[in-house]
């Protein structure tokens, strides 16, 4: 906004160069530096999880088991799920972008509890380190779902240590959520009312509530698994007097809301990116905000739709089916509002917007196929098949990861002060979109035709679709490796971005890029509504 015509220059002092040395990073309480620490850690975990995915897709090129043993394969998909869900997706947007942006968006100097913020990263590192130890010492083969009594009695792998890693990891999630809730209540700048709050913050507020309320349940559940595994106290295994289905109720009571921990922050990113690149106020601000809260509340009441074939009363099944349908409605409201936001806007096609448009498409397909799984007449046929695998990858990868990439590309100039080459960003976004669809669309058909998930060997008639899927995965892999290259390149060689390269609204753009340690030279006073794009130039400037 300041001087987009003349050449922007880097600010002399900012959060990255305010202090030097390893100690200044490892003992920092600056939310922006902690966000960078998280960014590096979860990127490492993402590529570890991606390695397992690569091995899975390679093995499934042929119906026979030829690349590895059945046990190894079972460990591959288990560790892929555990690493991606608990160590990448759940912290992804909140711990990096949320951490970096929430204080800036509300005009605060930092989060409410900066030391707890650092503690949450250390907890994450301890748990991730333990998980890597598990991986290097033979891994775990229970699936990320740890179903009993397989996990408590029959598995010979490192169930206990993997469970402890996830147990510890949960505390980092809880602390981040707690920090956001308090920050959003107590630290807003003068004039930043709830009705002026960026939707990014609303969505993160809803996410934080789930993190704080839901995560203790998975911790308790895994503690009970450990108790049964170590001391043979009958909780889940009927051989010692337990109930195996009880585990599934407890597990999904957290793990279904956990899906919303992944997708609500993605929706947070969407509302920011789509308004900026449409140069328009968000359509239906209050409906989008309330939809986030609706998702967080309803999300806690649908867990048993994972268990329609596990044997439950038909009336319980009906209630859970109906509630699962209801939770789809707020998501639909959001998609309609984003679409309406583009109407009569001035739409620009930079990289973040490409990812955002990709998100809407893939998230729509993921959400729609969720309707099939909520349906009592169809779920028994498609549950536990590749239909489910395709569905949740559309939500978690097509949705959450696309939005994460959109967010990283949108705020990269704010975080680093430099711009990446837009053309390479567009190429990567295109590769991810094409590769993703080629990987996961065939899996819907595979599932309906009847291929169960977690199959090492499969019937020869499923091979064509599996080969298509593996081919898509190789394109997807390139799409994910490219940004790693050009984003790192941009750190040194990228053109200087300037304070507000996208001419975007929002307090985070009203300070320098990279921002000073305490974000603002003086506390801003907010007198305008969110997404006030009428005041901004109608063109997104082109940098780089």
């Amino acid at each position: 906004m300041t001087n987009s015509q003349s050449m922007p220059a880097m600010p002399r002092e900012h959060y990255l160069n305010a202090k030097y040395g390893v100690k200044s990073w490892l003992l920092t309480t600056d939310h922006k530096r902690i966000a960078i620490l998280y960014l590096i850690s979860i990127t490492a975990m993402f590529f570890i999880g991606g390695f397992f995915a690569t091995m899975i897709r390679l093995e499934l090129l042929t119906p026979a088991g030829d690349l590895m043993t059945a046990d190894t394969y079972n460990k591959m998909f288990s560790m892929h799920g555990i690493v991606m869900v608990f160590f990448f997706l759940i912290p992804s947007i909140p711990a990096t972008l949320g951490n970096f942006l929430i204080p800036m968006m509300i005009g605060a100097k930092d989060l409410a509890f900066p030391r707890i913020n650092l503690l949450s990263w250390y907890i994450y590192i301890v748990s991730a380190g333990l998980m890597i130890y598990v991986i290097l010492n033979g891994g775990v083969d229970t699936g990320w779902t740890f179903y009993t009594p397989f996990s408590t009695t029959y598995s010979n792998s490192n169930v206990l240590l993997a469970g402890i890693a996830i147990f510890i990891n949960g505390f980092s999630s809880i602390l981040t959520g707690l920090n956001f809730i308090v920050t959003l209540h107590r630290m807003r700048a003068p004039g930043m009312t709830w009705n002026r709050l960026p939707l990014f913050c609303w969505s993160h507020y809803a996410t934080s509530v789930i993190q704080v309320l839901g995560t203790p349940v998975i911790a308790i559940t895994l503690a009970l698994v450990a108790i049964e595994r170590v001391w043979h106290i009958g909780i889940f295994d009927p051989k010692v007097g337990g109930d195996p289905v009880l585990f599934q109720h407890m597990f999904w009571f957290y793990s279904h809301p956990a899906v919303y921990i992944m997708i609500l922050p993605s929706m947070a990113v969407m509302s920011e990116v789509i308004t900026c690149f449409s140069r328009k106020r968000i359509f239906g601000y209050h409906f989008v905000a309330l939809a986030s809260i609706g998702i967080a509340v309803l999300g806690f009441l649908v867990w048993a739709h994972h268990m329609f074939v596990a044997g439950m009363s038909v009336y319980a099944a009906l209630v859970f089916s109906l509630l699962s349908y209801f939770v789809a409605v707020p998501s639909a409201i959001k998609v309609f509002n984003w679409t309406a936001t583009m109407y009569k806007g001035n739409v620009s096609w930079q990289t973040p917007m490409l990812y955002a448009i990709g998100f809407i498409g893939l998230f729509t397909v993921g959400g729609m196929t969720g309707l099939f799984l909520a349906c009592l007449g169809i779920d028994p046929h498609v549950t536990d098949t590749y239909f489910v695998v395709a569905h949740f990858h559309f939500i978690m990868v097509g949705g959450a990861v696309m939005a994460y990439m959109a967010g990283i590309h949108f705020w990269w100039p704010k975080m680093t002060g430099r711009m990446y080459p837009d053309i390479w960003g567009k190429i990567a976004a295109g590769l991810v979109f094409v590769g993703f669809n080629l990987t996961f669309l065939p899996q819907f058909i595979l599932g309906y035709v009847g291929m169960p998930r977690r199959y090492f060997h499969y019937s020869p008639e499923f091979q064509v679709l599996n080969v298509l899927s593996s081919a898509g995965a190789s394109i997807l892999a390139i799409g994910y490796l490219l940004p790693l290259v050009y984003l790192l390149w941009s750190l040194r060689y990228g053109p200087v971005a300037g304070d507000n390269p996208w001419a975007a609204q929002g307090l985070e753009w009203k300070t320098a890029s990279p921002p000073p340690t305490f974000n603002f030279d003086e506390t801003p006073v907010v007198t305008w509504e969110a997404y006030d794009y009428e005041q901004m130039p109608k063109e997104v400037p082109v940098v780089g």
């Binding site: 179903y147 106020r281 044997g311 789809a328 349906c375 098949t385 109608k538």
Partner: protein, 315 residues
């Protein structure tokens, strides 16, 4: 190529068609809305793309009418989907009373089927066409799941508790049988075939394998395990009489009244202390470990077979 490409597994049961119809309805509705979104986004992205001299973006405030419209329409459609799905689920929940009962024991990593007439099969199941078949299933170890895509049926097989699933095959042929719940190393090898045969062929197949019906084997087990010492037919022993018991209400020492079904009998044998019949002392030892799930099913078959005999004093 595309015409022969299989988008659907064979439709070989009475429910398969119903499930596919509902599936196609959902494909149509969700396909329509997905395309609507895709087209709108593509259209807006192109039509309103930034060009120099282009009009300033119109500020559209909240349009409450529009918001209500796109809240209510999806809500109504999802209620229709839910109701239609529930109709199929409810209608297919209870097996028809004339269903043929086959016992299933799942264990790492095989399926065992026990026909009422006696034959036992492993990883293969022969059934007659046009006859409802009810599977009463239990697992010896972890959770498994019986899945026959051609029949559109799937049900978890749990340890310690019976679950049921039923189907009526409409087409002869051999169809995949899968374990759909991850159960360890050889999970993907825990599969077999369901052979649907003409009823006459099925009768011939049954006659070929000479073996004893499960209730006969159960009666022998009943003697061998010493059950008969306490459970005297007249009810004069230390335990209640089991004659005429099956399917009847039983009063427990806690005052609770339960039905003497497969699950009750299973629990009464495996963990007798938890289900003591009123008027009897909790002295029965557990038979867990002494009798496996197949033996358990034979015992239950025997108790069921003496369930309908008259002249018994119900406990």
């Amino acid at each position: 190529m595309l015409l022969t490409f299989p988008f659907f597994p064979p439709r070989a049961s009475t429910v398969a068609g119903q499930v596919d119809h509902l599936f196609l309805f959902l494909v149509a509705v969700s396909g329509f809305f997905a395309c609507l979104i895709f087209v709108l986004i593509a259209w807006f992205a192109v039509k309103y793309r930034y060009r120099p001299g282009h009009q300033r973006a119109m500020s559209t405030r909240t349009n409450v009418g529009l918001e209500i419209t796109w809240t209510v329409i999806p809500l109504l459609l999802t209620v229709v989907m839910c109701a239609w799905g529930a109709r199929i689920f409810f209608a297919d929940y209870r097996p028809p009373p004339n269903a043929m009962k086959i016992s299933v024991v799942a264990k790492q990593w095989m399926w065992k089927f026990q026909h009422p007439e006696g034959p036992m099969e492993i990883n293969e199941l022969h059934v007659p066409q046009g006859q409802p078949v009810e599977l009463t299933m239990i697992s010896e170890d972890v959770i498994h799941d019986l899945f026959v895509p051609a029949f559109r049926v799937k049900k978890d097989v749990l340890p310690g508790r019976y679950t049921e699933v039923w189907f009526e095959a409409t087409m002869t042929g051999a169809y995949h049988l899968f374990c759909a719940q991850y159960c360890g190393t050889q999970h993907s090898k825990m599969r077999g075939w369901v052979h649907v045969m003409e009823p006459t062929d099925y009768a011939q197949w049954l006659a070929r394998g000479a073996s004893e019906p499960p209730e006969v084997a159960g009666a022998r087990l009943f003697q061998q395990l010493g059950c008969a010492a306490c459970h005297l037919p007249q009810g004069t022993g230390q335990g209640p009489s089991l004659v005429g018991l099956f399917g009847k209400p039983v009063k427990l020492s806690t005052g609770e009244i339960v039905t003497a079904d497969e699950d009750f009998l299973h629990q009464a044998i495996a963990a007798p202390g938890t289900k003591v019949v009123a008027g009897y002392r909790p002295i029965m030892p557990t038979f867990k470990g002494l009798v496996d799930e197949e033996g358990m099913q034979k015992l239950v078959a025997y108790i069921r077979s003496i369930g309908n005999k008259p002249g018994a004093n119900s406990p």
